[in-house]
């Protein structure tokens, strides 16, 4: 049990305990849709054409951008469409996608991994393998794993984040109970790739089975399991580091600069698959949970499967539902089930429609500050964000908000504080962009002025020179004429 702690946080019991703990393996779907933009920034470019036959594990989209990992087909079949599809977000934003119809064969490409003896490969080769397998942080952020590992070369400690964090999400728990050996081997691969000496697996203390299984599997004395309190927002990287190592990672810098690498446990399992077996990331465990389900469960599904297919297996009620993706605390509400599983989809929560508590006035009770793990003043930020006062909001460190939602959770006035903060952050971003644009156009304008001025000066100079030359010429001509006249006069005089 960790001796340290971080401030704030809330203790939230899982409102929907699962009645079955084992992982249900879902057969490959008939159709899969792959979203090519997995996080902010670049999106991968399709490498296949409509009508082309693909196998499981075949690369279907790539990008030159290091922050954008390749996408692999998770089923064998034929590419049926390359178009834009909505991402699982309330905005309904559409991104490029590839759809594949299954041929029902589940035909894999030939896999070639390093095998159990990883040290035959160099760390660089391993990192390359991780990139080529399309691995991203599977806890929800979706940050490319190889970039993080590359940045953490020589990190003393590796923290494996298995805290789940979200009360209603249990996919990490399921993963630990199903794949303890793969996880431990994956950690060893990671330690080798980073040349680290120590790895800590952080597991919530109530996941007793998982802790026992991992402890039974660990043979390496440099890997240990640490039970952490079931406090919500422990899963946030910087808070977990504070909890385990009592280190505060300063705002604006990464954990790697303090010699720590933090990876999600599902990412570690994916790293094992990629490096040891040579299998790209084509499946993950998703928790399907919620009050509208008769049989909530953990499912191991292929990436690209549709939400509705998986939700159906949990026997939802016939009533209309509220659907939330990515956890009850930090997830987002989506209008329906017509989305496909991404690499970062950790959970789908399907609830009966609840009567929403009405938002009432903020009474500044500061319960929000009490639970804020970052020690912000949400009650003040709320006012600033509400009145579009970005300057003030920034001076109260709005950018440090990790959007964990503890404040919204405890607010007696039911104010969706995090939504206000997201709005405020977006506004700050927009203003920065506008400022940049304004600066750029001013620069352009000033350069144009400068250029026009220079042209004018050059022209003036040229004109002046020409004038001077002309004058000189005229003076010379005058001079010559005078000389001629003088000579003529002299001649005439002589004649006389």
């Amino acid at each position: 049990m960790s001796k340290h702690d971080f401030r704030g946080g809330v203790l939230i019991e899982n409102p929907y305990p699962l009645n079955q703990l084992s992982v249900v393996e879902v057969p490959p779907p008939k159709k899969a849709i792959y979203l090519l933009k997995q996080r902010e920034g670049a999106s991968a470019k399709p490498k296949v054409k409509v009508g082309q036959k693909v196998k499981v594990g075949q690369v279907i989209a790539v990008s030159n951008n290091d922050y954008c990992v390749p996408m692999h087909s998770s089923i064998s079949g034929v590419v049926s469409a390359i178009d834009d599809q909505p991402i699982a977000h309330s905005s309904g934003l559409k991104v490029p996608s590839i759809s594949i119809e299954s041929d029902g064969k589940d035909d894999w490409i030939s896999l070639k991994g390093c095998g159990e003896e990883v040290d035959k490969c160099t760390p660089d080769e391993i990192i390359e393998k991780i990139r080529n397998a399309g691995i991203v942080g599977m806890g929800g952020a979706g940050f490319p794993a190889h970039v993080k590992i590359k940045g953490a070369q020589g990190a003393k400690t590796i923290i494996i984040n298995a805290t789940e964090c979200d009360p209603a999400t249990l996919c990490d728990d399921a993963l630990m109970r199903k794949y303890p050996e793969e996880i431990i081997k994956g950690i060893e691969v990671l330690m080798y790739a980073c040349q680290s000496q120590k790895a800590i697996i952080a597991v919530e203390e109530d996941k007793v089975d998982a802790i026992i299984k991992l402890n039974q599997t660990i043979k390496n004395k440099n890997i240990c399991v640490e039970a952490v309190p079931i406090k919500y927002s422990t899963g946030a990287e910087k808070l977990l580091i504070k909890l385990l190592l009592d280190k505060v990672i300063p705002t604006g810098s990464f954990a790697s600069s303090s010699g720590v690498l933090c990876q999600n446990i599902a990412t570690v399992k994916a790293i094992y698959d990629a490096v040891v077996i040579g299998k790209p990331l084509v499946s993950r465990i998703v928790t399907v949970n919620g009050s509208a389900l008769k049989n909530p469960s953990n499912y191991e599904v292929r990436i690209g499967s549709s939400f509705s297919d998986i939700v159906k297996k949990s026997k939802p009620s016939a009533n209309p539902h509220e659907i939330r993706v990515g956890g009850m605390m930090m997830g987002v509400d989506v209008p329906d089930k017509n989305y496909s599983i991404c690499k970062i989809t950790s959970s789908i929560i399907v609830d009966e429609i609840k009567i929403k508590q009405k938002e009432s006035a903020c009474i500044r009770c500061s319960k929000c500050n009490e639970v804020c793990p970052i020690n912000l003043l949400p009650q003040q930020l709320f006012w600033f964000c509400k009145s579009d006062n970005t300057k003030k909001a920034s001076s109260y460190d709005l950018q440090d908000c990790i959007e964990c939602g503890c404040c919204s959770y405890v607010c007696p006035s039911h104010i969706p504080l995090v939504e206000y903060f997201q709005y405020g952050k977006a506004l700050v971003k927009k203003e920065l962009r506008e400022q940049e644009l304004a600066a750029k156009s001013r620069e352009r304008y000033e350069f144009k002025e400068f250029r026009l001025d220079r042209i004018k000066q050059e022209r003036d100079k040229m004109m002046a020179e020409k004038k001077a030359a002309l004058k000189a010429k005229m003076a010379k001509e005058k001079d010559n004429k005078a000389k001629i006249a003088e000579a003529l006069k002299r001649v005439n005089d002589k004649k006389k």
């Binding site: 971080f6 401030r7 704030g8 946080g9 809330v10 203790l11 939230i12 019991e13 406090k231 910087k238 808070l239 504070k242 505060v248 990672i249 300063p250 705002t251 508590q357 009405k358 009432s360 006035a361 903020c362 009474i363 500044r364 009770c365 500061s366 319960k367 500050n369 009490e370 639970v371 793990p373 970052i374 020690n375 912000l376 003043l377 009650q379 003040q380 109260y396 460190d397 440090d400 959770y409 405890v410 007696p412 006035s413 039911h414």
Partner: protein, 313 residues
């Protein structure tokens, strides 16, 4: 760390504060009789009516009334004024508190000043005579009605409060026993008990009450040392006047008090000091209302300079 959801909503929070007042009010009733109940009833009717009317004028949903904040303001004002004050005192004061103290600023959450204390200060300045006539005897159901609703001569009933008595005694150089358990001490103990209940229910935090009481103790002890002719000592001040009511129910109004943990310490402590200064040297017997209003004005400044240290900065 907060476990689960201790307080469901804002109206529940206000209701808890009202529950916390019950023992102190019961003791007031035990000592002073039915006047207390009439004042509270009048205040509640006026407060809720004023709130509804102004919500209508402002074209807001009158559902807001369910947040119980108007009721709380009304009760706090009613138990702060003398139980034998004529009916129009409490009606005027409560309307002023709700309309000028809260609604005109934009309703709950937007008022910079404590509405109940604003109402109280308004009454004390405008009607000093009616506001300083207290009783020390139990008024029966009928007596109460008579005193409050008809303009009978109430001089026979009224008496000075212990604070005034003490001040007078010290001025005259008389012997004054500060440690005497009288009605006010019991009522203060009642509110102290209610305050502990609020703390237990996590409605209030410890910072404001403790720093306020600390301010009272420090300042009154200091005055004892330097000016023993006027000072009444910490023990007396802790259990007389509106000390406990102020500490747990008035200063802790979240809207108008400081909102940062450190700011709350400053806020409470400074009010404690001001209360003792006003009680000792001011011309009004108690100073909680004025001290609270003065520090309410200073809250934005206090909050600005007491921002907590942000994780990672």
């Amino acid at each position: 760390m907060i476990t689960g959801k201790p307080i469901l909503n804002t109206s529940n929070l206000m209701l808890q504060v009202i529950y916390g007042l019950i023992l102190g009010v019961a003791l007031q009733f035990y000592f002073f009789g039915w006047g207390v109940i009439y004042q509270i009833t009048l205040a509640l009717i006026t407060g809720i009516a004023a709130e509804i009317i102004f919500l209508k004028i402002r074209k807001k949903s009158i559902d807001v009334i369910k947040d119980n904040s108007a009721a709380l303001t009304a009760i706090l004002l009613a138990i702060s004024i003398p139980s034998i004050a004529p009916w129009w005192i409490v009606v005027l004061g409560t309307s002023f508190a709700i309309i000028f103290g809260k609604q005109l600023y934009g309703g709950l959450g937007s008022n910079p000043l404590n509405p109940a204390m604003l109402g109280y200060a308004f009454l004390l300045i405008s009607f000093p005579l009616e506001m300083t006539r207290w009783t020390s005897s139990f008024l029966s159901f009928g007596e109460g009605l008579n005193v409050i609703f008809s303009s009978i001569n109430i001089d026979a009933l009224s008496s000075a409060t212990r604070l005034e008595e003490a001040k007078f005694a010290l001025m005259e150089g008389e012997v004054f026993n500060p440690i005497q358990i009288d009605q006010t001490v019991w009522i203060n103990l009642g509110f102290l008990f209610g305050g502990v209940y609020l703390f237990y229910k996590k409605v209030i935090t410890w910072q404001i009450p403790l720093s306020f009481l600390a301010g009272i103790i420090v300042m009154s002890a200091l005055l004892m040392l330097v000016d023993s002719d006027h000072a009444m000592g910490p023990v007396f001040h802790l259990f007389h006047g509106a000390t406990m009511l102020g500490a747990f129910f008035i200063l802790t109004d979240p809207v108008s008090s400081s909102t940062t943990p450190r700011g709350r310490l400053i806020f409470g402590f400074l009010i404690g000091i001001l209360v003792i200064i006003i009680r000792t040297y001011g011309s009004y017997p108690d100073g909680v209302a004025f001290a609270v209003l003065l520090l309410n004005i200073a809250v934005p400044l206090i909050d600005y300079y007491s921002k907590p240290k942000v994780f990672g900065r």
